[in-house]
Symmetry: none
Subunit: 154 residues, 2 copies
DNA sequence: GGTCATGATGAATGAATATGCCGAGTAAAG
DNA sequence: CTTTACTCGGCATATTCATTCATCATGACC
């Protein structure tokens, strides 16, 4: 019925909460209305749920809606870190090698994702059933990469 | 007045929400009560605010309090379905076969998980790079299984 | 002692959010 | 052209959360 689709509206909401200090769903509805999108709070509530937005207390009685990393699925890095979180068991470094232990059977999948990164410092990857070996150009680069991955995994 | 201080109570709350799946403040109050700490929802509300806890939507209408939206997710069936969503592209049925299309390289991983289910109605699974073939005992069972999987993915 | 200020809390209530139910629209199947 | 199945979203309401107001306890001060 409405040309501006649900998807479009939700994208606007995501942008909105990052750009502005939004503390209620009614407020979101107002902003959308100014853009010509008229929906009720009920709809916003459903959107907020699907987008997995969060109402973060400021500690002083104020609140602000924020998106969470858990919601960022379009974002490549976000998605990547999700997948990693799920399947990567362990990270280790030895010389210029990184060893990643994964859930059984997932090594090939993770390795494929890593290959797609097409990083210069990675010479190549080798995947077994639950282990990936990443060969880096240098020890220093291996360390840097390890740290980067660990950050991704928090 | 109360021996168990406000500070102590708040520490308990922080532990609690990380350890258990808590979705309302009333629930928090219950748990505390079992530990002999009797406070009302009003107090919990103030605590939640001061601790800056967050009520994170699971995307399916459920909520869980978390100490930070950035916190790692390690548990829960609800999140397992999330994992599948990331990797399962498509579900299809033909006769007594289910065909699952996955992200490139992930077929083996998903197939392994399915194998571990050890379901009677599954005769066996066959995984390529991005496709899994599940052979069921009967057409009816294939249909039921498909529906079950689809429910998991919502 | 009394008085004042402060902080924690509950009861009641107001504000904000979630949801059951229904109808409209749409697409696929028959 | 029906029927069926789904998705979306409004309305009304239920649920959940925040806040106001009053009370009690504590400590500082005179």
């Amino acid at each position: 019925m409405n040309m501006p689709s649900k998807e479009y509206r939700q994208r606007l909401i995501e942008e909105l909460v990052e750009r502005e200090f939004i503390s209620t769903q009614a407020e979101i509805a107002e902003h959308l209305a100014r853009r010509g999108i008229n929906v009720t709070q009920a709809t916003i509530s459903r959107d907020v749920n699907e987008l997995r937005l969060v109402r973060l207390p400021a500690g002083n009685g104020q609140h602000r809606y924020r998106s969470t990393p858990l919601a960022a699925e379009e974002d490549v890095v976000g998605e990547l870190s999700q997948r990693f979180r799920l399947f990567v068991r362990d990270l280790d470094r030895g010389e210029n090698l990184l060893v990643i232990t994964t859930d059984e059977g997932h090594a090939a999948g993770i390795a494929y994702v890593i290959d797609k990164l097409d990083r210069d410092e990675i010479v190549g990857t080798l995947a077994g059933q639950n282990t990936i070996l990443i060969v880096c150009r240098s020890v220093v680069q291996a360390e840097a990469l390890l740290e980067e991955f660990e950050t991704l995994l928090q």
